[in-house]
Chain length 339, copies 6
Amino acid sequence: MAKKVVTLGEILLRLSTPDKKRFVQSESFDAIYGGAEANVAVALANFGLDSYFVTKLPDNPLGDSAVNYIRRYGVKTDYIARGGKRVGIYFLEKGTSVRPSKVVYDRAASSITKINVDDFDFIEIFKDVEWFHFSGITPALGENCIRFIQKAVEVAKALKIPISVDLNYRKGLWSKKEFEKVMIPLIQGVDVCIGWLSSVEEVATTGIEDFTSKDLDKERFIKIFSRMRKKFNIKYITTTLRENYSASKNGLSAIIYDGNELHESKKYTFHIEDRVGGGDAFASGLLYKLIKGEDCKEALEFGVAASVLKHTISGDFNLSTEAEITELLNGNTSGSVQR
Amino acid sequence: MAKKVVTLGEILLRLSTPDKKRFVQSESFDAIYGGAEANVAVALANFGLDSYFVTKLPDNPLGDSAVNYIRRYGVKTDYIARGGKRVGIYFLEKGTSVRPSKVVYDRAASSITKINVDDFDFIEIFKDVEWFHFSGITPALGENCIRFIQKAVEVAKALKIPISVDLNYRKGLWSKKEFEKVMIPLIQGVDVCIGWLSSVEEVATTGIEDFTSKDLDKERFIKIFSRMRKKFNIKYITTTLRENYSASKNGLSAIIYDGNELHESKKYTFHIEDRVGGGDAFASGLLYKLIKGEDCKEALEFGVAASVLKHTISGDFNLSTEAEITELLNGNTSGSVQR
Amino acid sequence: MAKKVVTLGEILLRLSTPDKKRFVQSESFDAIYGGAEANVAVALANFGLDSYFVTKLPDNPLGDSAVNYIRRYGVKTDYIARGGKRVGIYFLEKGTSVRPSKVVYDRAASSITKINVDDFDFIEIFKDVEWFHFSGITPALGENCIRFIQKAVEVAKALKIPISVDLNYRKGLWSKKEFEKVMIPLIQGVDVCIGWLSSVEEVATTGIEDFTSKDLDKERFIKIFSRMRKKFNIKYITTTLRENYSASKNGLSAIIYDGNELHESKKYTFHIEDRVGGGDAFASGLLYKLIKGEDCKEALEFGVAASVLKHTISGDFNLSTEAEITELLNGNTSGSVQR
Amino acid sequence: MAKKVVTLGEILLRLSTPDKKRFVQSESFDAIYGGAEANVAVALANFGLDSYFVTKLPDNPLGDSAVNYIRRYGVKTDYIARGGKRVGIYFLEKGTSVRPSKVVYDRAASSITKINVDDFDFIEIFKDVEWFHFSGITPALGENCIRFIQKAVEVAKALKIPISVDLNYRKGLWSKKEFEKVMIPLIQGVDVCIGWLSSVEEVATTGIEDFTSKDLDKERFIKIFSRMRKKFNIKYITTTLRENYSASKNGLSAIIYDGNELHESKKYTFHIEDRVGGGDAFASGLLYKLIKGEDCKEALEFGVAASVLKHTISGDFNLSTEAEITELLNGNTSGSVQR
Amino acid sequence: MAKKVVTLGEILLRLSTPDKKRFVQSESFDAIYGGAEANVAVALANFGLDSYFVTKLPDNPLGDSAVNYIRRYGVKTDYIARGGKRVGIYFLEKGTSVRPSKVVYDRAASSITKINVDDFDFIEIFKDVEWFHFSGITPALGENCIRFIQKAVEVAKALKIPISVDLNYRKGLWSKKEFEKVMIPLIQGVDVCIGWLSSVEEVATTGIEDFTSKDLDKERFIKIFSRMRKKFNIKYITTTLRENYSASKNGLSAIIYDGNELHESKKYTFHIEDRVGGGDAFASGLLYKLIKGEDCKEALEFGVAASVLKHTISGDFNLSTEAEITELLNGNTSGSVQR
Amino acid sequence: MAKKVVTLGEILLRLSTPDKKRFVQSESFDAIYGGAEANVAVALANFGLDSYFVTKLPDNPLGDSAVNYIRRYGVKTDYIARGGKRVGIYFLEKGTSVRPSKVVYDRAASSITKINVDDFDFIEIFKDVEWFHFSGITPALGENCIRFIQKAVEVAKALKIPISVDLNYRKGLWSKKEFEKVMIPLIQGVDVCIGWLSSVEEVATTGIEDFTSKDLDKERFIKIFSRMRKKFNIKYITTTLRENYSASKNGLSAIIYDGNELHESKKYTFHIEDRVGGGDAFASGLLYKLIKGEDCKEALEFGVAASVLKHTISGDFNLSTEAEITELLNGNTSGSVQR
């Protein structure tokens, strides 16, 4: 019997221009659905877990399409509430070479912003659950979402369900101050925290939003992660380290701190087909291995290889299998035709 | 020198499923821009008039795309204000045969709802203008839009510019009571009113929203139109009469009342490629001929033939030329290849 | 809690030429998945039932895609066995006007032909099931399939689960003699039989494969259905009556015999977008209403209206909602835009 | 061994807007190759004859593509000369319903206008040939083409090869006077002439270019055809009779005069997918049966049924098989799915 | 009020194979419009200038489409004459990796070759103009074009309008001798000349058509440019320096000589989406900054960055904004997603 | 008169996901036809030889499409037998970057496996033939194919026709032991053998299936090739050496041994559009030059350059011209636009 896991967040309609066209050139959009937390839910289902996604979607054909889109990839949608007026949208212009991708958000007043604790039966949702995952984007969507996530975290903690959180600070949605005020109580005692709070660093120069891997040396990471671990009683703190050569080419590795050691993964350099969801692929790869009980170093390597493969796949989702990720992780980057 | 005309309203992003797919089947949308008033502005430009469209659009690439989309077909966009957060959207699932087309609106909080009288220089806009057109949809979009349209109508009337209004009552946007309260002062003294108010009929059984041509006989129309004409001091009252055989086949004719006579147009039966914008094509065909100074009976016939041709064209816009419409009007419905 | 229903059969990869191209013109295929029984399973899920589909598919990415394709539309795929070498394929050239559609089957040696009774836990599958549906196509696929369907029917009957069968005789797969030999024991005592056996008619001129509605008058139908009902102890016998005007236009009605009366449905004439799956849409509409406990006459009307709407939808599946079918059934065939 | 036939003429690049878009809407063109005579050559190859097409095409990748396009459908391209600067082009906007299709020609100065008698070895080309076909379009393309066609006809007549000509008068290319001056010597003694000369009629009111089937009664046809037959010593004179209901729906029949009797074919009414090449499909169906030695009445029926099926196929070519045409001719217009 | 600028030249229909297909594989073409001078006009409009394009186009739907295509991107088309028979065409097969792109021109006898000085009111066109741009391609199109461009340059010089010329020598259109004979009088006294004449170099080894940046050292450039500057009284002479690594990867920088110094820009290495129009993007970026009054060194850097971004955009046009170019110019080549 | 060459083997329907989508994402397939030997036949026709392809295909529209697909590119299809039930299929998911391409074969029981010596007139087929090519894939398809290839080789040897064989060992189809048992008699005395048998190496560590260019040094190659040459009396033994950097980037060179010397070609590094058919492009380039009588070193260089260009072309076929390959071979890898 597959392990039951629960992820909570928003799923958006993604409208991207085809063939790397600019917005002003395009007379059609590729239409799929995705979002930081939905991407994790799909990847976990794809790895074979019994993966439930919790959200609120309008009771119209676009809401139906969003449900179908993740159901297709194996996510259980039984706990999705229906109501509100609209599916949040993000428009994506895929970049290439020195031209960056552009995202235009149109997510205000989406159904999840009308989410209500009473729409859900938490006892039912969290029954037999072996992992709960959420991100810092959901509470940025307003008071209803904050109350909802607080309730969910409270119940999960009460039931001693392992919890992971991807901080995912988005400066377009709220200030760093609001962010920390809401997030700090939520991350208390979680098992895995992806990202860190800039406020735990004494010197205020390095924040979340303007971080690149060149900014921090290993010693500094250990100091920050160690302080954060203690302060919030978190088991693992982890982050990816990305090098942006161009919109078509990136380098990627990751680190995880377990209290004793800062483990560093292998680093990959690769061409990019679709960059969106790369971080979520890392999160889901890492979590999958931790849920299976493997140690954090192996989970880290699996997460990074998963993320790299995601970059070669169109759409938000990492549709790689465990076998494919393992093959990449074992060093086969040759791309030979597999017959 | 072409005559200058001004149309005011919202332009929406239209996202329609390709190949008559249902919403839940589609993984892409055809993306164009349209809306009742923009459709009129484009058709008038296409007939050769110096056609200006006034609206408010966000200062982002989607706003740019909307501007470009009508500029391409010759509309002058100099008076479009930029600001607000979003382009209104409507999703369209094209029906066929006995399956009706479906529209899902997602237009709340669009940029035009933030429109402000002070964003515009009415003296400049209405300078040398020979016709002004608006519709009953715009004031349904909220207080800002009502104030804006009131100001525009006030200036146009002061400058003695001929005015046309397409009542376009949409029950999803406001109640009939709100509608009449706002619209009645606006239609006082206009030259052309498309549609009629149900309240002018003594017997309350026939309203705008549930009207079909079978419901009214000629005598009744004359009574209603005549009463309305006198009450509001309107020169012409007109409406199309549609027969819905299926999503693929319709019948269409129209009537106009000039105070003396109720003129009835020829009736056409035809297959449908895209029904959206059919009413706007009628309005613009009729207005074009009235602006050119032709008599209302000829204008009516031209409007109906224009509308019929529109139904054979994908998208919201009537991209037929005057010559093509005239040929249809003269009886050539053979569809022979033109070499 | 939705009622649990089980359908059993093959799901095929359907490769159809786009834009009504002929096979020899086409350089791409639209690729979806469907099949007589899968189409019923999807429609029942779409109506809100807890619909399980039982089959065998290869453990490769095409097998995954077939699973995903029905999961997307809500079908439960927990009981699908994986194994064998290939997904059966049918190539479809969509006809139009006087040019008929053409199907080229390439389904020999597909995974379902390797199906094995021991791959399945029937006690688990039929637990709490309120309806079981199968068709005459599955046993035509060979000995393994015959044994499998015999076992399934045996268990379902033992558990007193209502059963429906769509005879679906396909002369390309087996002879009428083989067909009757296998099917007669299977249909003993079922609740609903769609189609009839030509052998129950004394005069041998009218068989299943060459039937058109013009061939039989009402009296004759009553005689055949009544004889069949008694002989095999079947509750309802039903069939659609189709009039083929062209590949683009059909007439459709249906009849059902309940032992007392031969009920005839309304007849529809309509244009066709995709004819494949029209019969399965009738079956699933009829079954849905019977499962819900409505009487056979209402079920018949719903089934026919469901089938008509299916013809307006691309692909094998009827993706109409109950509300849409009911609206058509109530006489709204106008195709007006629904806003 | 298949019979060798030779057709001579121009093959053009056809650029048509997809999805019935108008020219001003389209950002892509479907690109195929066709032309009155090439269409006949392809259909004859498709029926199994050893069909050679003679023309001149530029020695560039577009010329290569034109060669490949007919080679794909079985035409022998050994006698195509390469040279000149350009492939002629025609732009096609497909109409629908009351909106007619539009053709914009861009064929001036194409390679065939530079054709030279010395580019070809007529002894080799006409060796063992059992039929030669040309049309009145080729000599309209200028002096080189006239000289070329004169030479070809001269050699074919000397070798006693049966000849057919499709008059195909195009008023955009030359005057009726020039047309008759050039064509009359060419049609002397041919076996089949499709169309007739208006000058053979005493009363000058009815010409080729403005003919519709309503204009002539049977008696009049017999008079004209009989006069023409005698004057030019032609075996069969034939023409299609088309009724244009709309761009989507036509009626079609044909007549042939053999000196004794005016045979009239069955008449079909049908929906249209692509009207271009409908006349050429008639010609090739008729010629195919005459080449096979069948009588003119059967050939006529086959030609009309071939033409009707062509109207259901995209592109210029009739890709129907003999069996399909025969089935239609035998009355099966039901469009039932063929499995 | 935006500054008015005028560009003069031909706009061609560009038919390119999709998905990097070879000509012989493709059954469709992407259809856009472009050309050296039109590309400059669009870029200048895109930067916010009041940009007019002057040309002649046929009065048919393809001419309409060409007008619409640039109007969409903001170009003013008031001064475009309509007449002649055809839009010039160029067919493009996009290369990749070691396979070069191929262009097949089909532009002979296009409408611009029938251009006539009397079609235009130069007083009106050049009223309030602050910059005039043309290229060496237009006069290569024949006597009418030479006379036209001579008249335009004469009027512009008389009105003391700053002038820029892109030499754009095309060996397929005329000989270097004819080129110099026509161009030398035209470039006398212009403000900006892009490219140089090989005849100004004493040693005849380096010509325009076979130049690569490796062929010339800095000293040699200064000598050539200095001589040319004096001889023709030109303010700035400039050129891009391209390194062709493959069809997918190039290096690009540029130089400008102002009489005192040879300024060299930054050099970029980048992957290519569409190489066509790269030189025109440089020209328009440089001109835009000069028109705004910035110094030539800044204009040069802006021009090169504009050109680099163009290479990442499909089609002939540089649709980058000033802000995007500035960001690249400031060193951000990371391609990070912009949210 | 072009030289006649004969190639024998299977042609498969290739169904590939568009836009590098994964199988589970794709709702359409690009559909072309190819296969190791058909790819050689097309390339030889494309170089101008009189190239015949011998195979068996079903007598249905998919068989017709396969014939048409190679006929289009100039292959003579006169000797293709029709019969059997199905066209073999291979599904292709194109990889990119670190994600490899995946092939799913569905070729069992295809028509060629039913091939029969008596279906063919070998005297007619091999009349005037100047080269015969086959591969080790065909005899892997079963007893019928073995018997057929044995007969073909026997006749070709009797007629002293030069023979080439591409060993193409596929471990999915048969064991290495079966492979050697069948192939050794067939390769006796052939002119060209592409690949080598692992059994000729004393040390058993290096086999065909697990070879990469890093495994063998030059000395070792000479030893193996020399032994093989003598043992089987083969004129030339050759192989490509591939370096797989990723699915998007490869290195390629080749070696040939003529009994005296091991010639090594230039090595290319390049980006990949479509890797399938790269080996067949090498074979056909090499064979073409040998058939033309050029020496083996030049043939080797031409073969490698042909293969490199193939990698930039979508589909299985090398559609490069001799001139294009020669230009690459001469060092022009710049990818500059060719006008």
